[in-house]
Every structure is written in structure tokens, then in C-alpha cells.
Amino acid sequence: MNDRADQLSNLDLDAPDKTYLDSNELIINMGPQHPATHGVLRVILKLDGEKVLGTECVIGYLHRGVEKIAENRTYTMFNPYVDRMDYVAAVSNGLGYCEAVEKLLNVEAPARAKYIRVILTELNRIASHQLWLGTHALDIGAMTPLFYTFRDREEILKIFEKYCGARLTTHAFRIGGCQYETYAGFEKDVKNFLTFVAPKIDEYETLLTTNRIWLERTKNVGVISAADAIALGVTGPVLRASGVKWDLRKAQPYAAYSDFDFDIPIGENGDTYDRYLVRMVEMRQSLLIIEQAVNGIPEGPIMGKVPKVIKPPVGEIYHSIEAPKGELGYFIVSDGSTQPYRIRVRPPSFVNLQALDIMVRGLLVADVIAVIGTLDIVLGEVDR
């Protein structure tokens, strides 16, 4: 293998029940070029046959120094960069960043802007979950859901494209509100999407939820207890599937989330199947939120009173939102200039990925794939 594998420190595990045949431990590299590591994650696996004795994640292949770039850009200039972190949930990234800077400036976006933000963010949450579902199912061997989810995700991307001209890295929001008023027919498009996608989610569930093989592959796989999840700082659907009813949208409401009525789904066992169910329910809850938001969207301005040159006062702020993958936080230190002194992004994928090791120990190679899928990581965000 290579020198790196020899010095794996957290692979020194308590010895399993040794047998006469245990002398052959296999160390294999999964990734960075591997079809199921969702990009450039490299996991070094220590195997006994097919049983995983330990893992070590090697990350950073996609490290672009986003935080360093932030220190050399103005607040406005940095806004599009955040879309490139979790590129499948770019809208959420933008929302977190804009709200954090607004908080630092002590301004608030107008109500209409907040509603638009909620609609787009929740649409993005559905898109992110759809992408997760497709790739996760593909990892477990079900090819077909991928195409179904991508077909439906396309409708969301079309709405994004119509709204702000971009499909993936949207740069939809600006500090202080939104740049663009909704286009004519936006509400109709969103409502059409709601009626379109609800039966499609049923369709995914028909393929998977009661599928015997799916159940066998996901139940009791990658179990993480609530205590472990909290200690490891795991957030988002992964935490909720372990039974912790915690969602920043409810716990510390931001944007306009306090106006809406929705449930937080939680799981019981913290296994892969529960995480699957939690995300499926979350998609439906997002539909509920979007429906309420699009029906109750107020008239008014979409841009708050922010100065042309954004120059926050000296100070520091931490603001976090519930991104599709968990708590996405921005810690911004301002020195009073037009450029942030330091921006720290608290990436949910990065922290969640850390739980991989304890989730897969003692399982099989195939489960590692399932667990990487169920953690729903995006390497752009892990590596930044």
C-alpha cells in the first residue's frame, strides 16, 4: 500500500476475537477514485476478510481554501463562493452566509425576502435530499431511483434557473434580502411543483421503503446512538434519526421559519433505514412549509436597508442554519473593514463524516458504502 496506511493511528483497535485465520488483515484504499465515495473521499479500510476493523478518512483533495479566499474578498464578493461548498444545496449556503452578515450588520431582511428565502431554501432541501436518495440507492445497488429523483430534481432546478439564472450554484440571495423579485408565474410554478412532486415521493417509497432487500441492507446498519451522535457533533437528519428532536428551524428559528407549522421527524434506532425515513418525511415537511410560504407570501420590498459598501462594525458573530445536511454555521470576525477579518464555516458534512468510523466498525465493506451514502456528505463542503 503506502506509507500512510502504515501509520494509521486510529486503526489500532481492540483486537477482535482472534482465530487461527486472522493473520491476514487487508488494508485497502477506497477512493479517492471510487464510484461510491461521492467525489474524492478516500477511506482507508482495515479489513479482516470483509469485516471492517477500522477506517481512516483522508480528505482535502478538494480543498480550495475558501476561508482564506474570504479574507481577501469583500463581504459581497465572497457571497458566490459559499455556493461552491455544498454545491447541491447552494441556496442554503447562501442563506446562512447572508443571514450571518446581516446579523453582523444588525439589519434584517424584509418579510417578503424572508419568505422567498424560505421557499427557495426548502426547494433546495428537497433537491438535496433527492440527490442523496438517488445516489444512496445507487450505492446500495438500486439503479432506478437515481433516474426518478433526477427527473424530479430537474423541476426544482428549472425554478431556480427561472428565478436567478443559475441551476446549481445559484447565488440567489444578497446581503440584506434578495436581488431579484420573483418572476411572473413563480408562485404558480412552485404550486405546480408541489402537486407534481408529492406523488413522486410516493413513487420512490414504493420502490424502496418496503423492499425486502432495501430493509436488509439498511436496518441495523451504521447504528449511532443519540449520545454518540451528540458527542460527535453530528447534526441534521443523522442526529434526528438517532432520536434527538432538534432542528435549528424550530430550536432557533431564522428567516421566516417561526411563521410556519411543520413537524420534525425523528427516528428510533439511528440506523441507515431510520435516516432514510427521516429524510423522506423531511421532504414532505418541506412541501408543507413551501405551501404555507407560497400561500402567505407578503407584499413589500425585498431588500433591506444595507449600505452600498458593506462595512460591518468590529465584532464577531456566529450564525447557523439548518442546511439539508445539518447545522451550517458561519463564524465571522470583522475588523471594521470591507473585508472580513476571518470567516469560519462550520460545515455539517465535515463533522458528520467524522462519525463514519464508529458507525462502520464491525460491519462489512458493503456497509461502508451504505453508511457513506447515508451520511450524505458533499466533498466540496468537507474540504472547502
Binding site: 476475537d17 482472534k18 482465530t19 487461527y20 485465520l21 491476514n24
Partner: protein
């Protein structure tokens, strides 16, 4: 001439075309012997295993020539198909690079030579005294007057095999299966410390 290699008998048994010709016999035996030599001389265990498969398949061919198709089929399905796969399975887990650097013939080779010579002597004596020890089917065939009838009788080879195993030789058959059971238990005990 060996009656098995008798062309007339051949055509009667196979329904026309002679199969058990001297050419096939020598070819298959030659392959088996070459394979056997390769098995013990190759340094790489996987190559040895592949050579062993060639030997086993050649022997299966020889069985076919002896009009024992059932034994040939079993030879393929059990030895070449099943056991060799398990062999390879185990060999693949062994560190070939290190194993191939080890000395192939270690100090106990004289003992091996003695054992091989003894076995060889046994075979030779069996070959010489064979007619007295075993009922010679080939002789029986040549004594029969009507080859067509014999061919018919042989066609029910599987039936006869079944009747022998579950009739005349039931005890030996069961003893053999008991032996295998013991081997299985031994393997389980060897691999698992706590059961």
C-alpha cells in the same frame, strides 16, 4: 489389445464413432502426467492449482473413455469445480510472494521420496496382480458375445452406480461420509477457538 480400445466395441458403445482411441488415451494420459509434474514443480501455488485442474480434467476424460460418464461428471463437478475453487480460495489468502521465495523442497524430501516410491510400488503391484484382485470389466466385456447388449447394460451406468452405493456398498459409503463429517468437525474446531 485392451478390449476398451477395441474399435468394434467402441463403435457399438458410442453408437458409431470411435472415441476411445489410442490417440485420445495417450493424449489424456500425457496431459494428466504433465499436469501432475507441473503441480509439484511450479513455485507459484496458483499455477500449481491450475495444473492440477488440467490433470483432474484429463482424468475425467479417461473416465469417459472407460465408459464411466457418471464418474467423469462427478470428477468435474466435485474436484475440478468445487474442490479446486476452494483450493484457490485458500491459496489466494496466502502471501504468494513470500511463499514462492521459501525453499520448495525442504529437509524431509527423502521421506517424501520413500513414500512416493512405496506408493508407486503399490500401484505397480496392483497393476500386475490387478486381474486377481479386481473384477476386470474389460475382460468381462470381451467375454460377452453381443457387444450391443453390453452397451445397453452400460447405458444404465448411473442406475448401477446408485444400486451399488445404496445396496452392496452401503456400509463403505456411510463410513466414508462419517469420515468426511469428522473432517468437517475438525476444520470447524481448528478455525474457531470458541464454538
Amino acid at each position: 489389445m485392451n478390449p476398451i480400445l477395441n474399435p468394434a466395441m467402441n463403435s457399438a458403445l458410442s453408437g458409431g464413432a470411435p472415441v476411445a482411441t489410442p490417440f485420445f488415451f495417450y493424449m489424456l494420459s500425457g496431459l494428466a502426467v504433465i499436469g501432475g509434474i507441473l503441480v509439484i514443480t511450479r513455485r507459484n501455488a496458483v499455477h500449481s492449482a491450475l495444473a492440477l485442474i488440467v490433470t483432474l480434467l484429463s482424468v475425467a476424460g479417461l473416465y469417459l473413455m472407460l465408459y464411466a460418464p457418471f464418474v467423469a461428471g462427478v470428477q468435474i463437478i466435485v474436484y475440478a469445480g468445487g474442490i479446486m475453487v476452494l483450493f484457490l480460495f485458500v491459496i489466494m489468502l496466502v502471501n504468494i510472494e513470500r511463499a514462492s521465495k521459501d525453499r520448495r523442497f525442504n529437509r524431509i524430501w527423502p521421506i517424501g521420496l520413500v513414500a512416493a516410491c512405496t506408493l508407486m510400488g503399490l500401484f505397480v503391484s496392483a497393476f500386475v496382480k490387478g486381474r486377481a484382485l479386481f473384477p476386470d470389466r474389460g475382460m468381462a466385456l470381451s467375454e460377452g458375445s453381443n457387444t450391443q447388449e453390453i452397451a445397453k447394460a452400460l447405458y444404465g451406468e448411473v442406475n448401477r452406480f446408485g444400486q451399488y452405493t445404496f445396496g452392496q456398498y452401503t456400509f463403505a459409503f456411510e463410513i466414508a461420509s462419517l469420515l468426511l463429517l469428522v473432517a468437517i468437525l475438525g476444520a470447524v474446531i481448528m478455525t474457531k477457538k470458541k464454538i
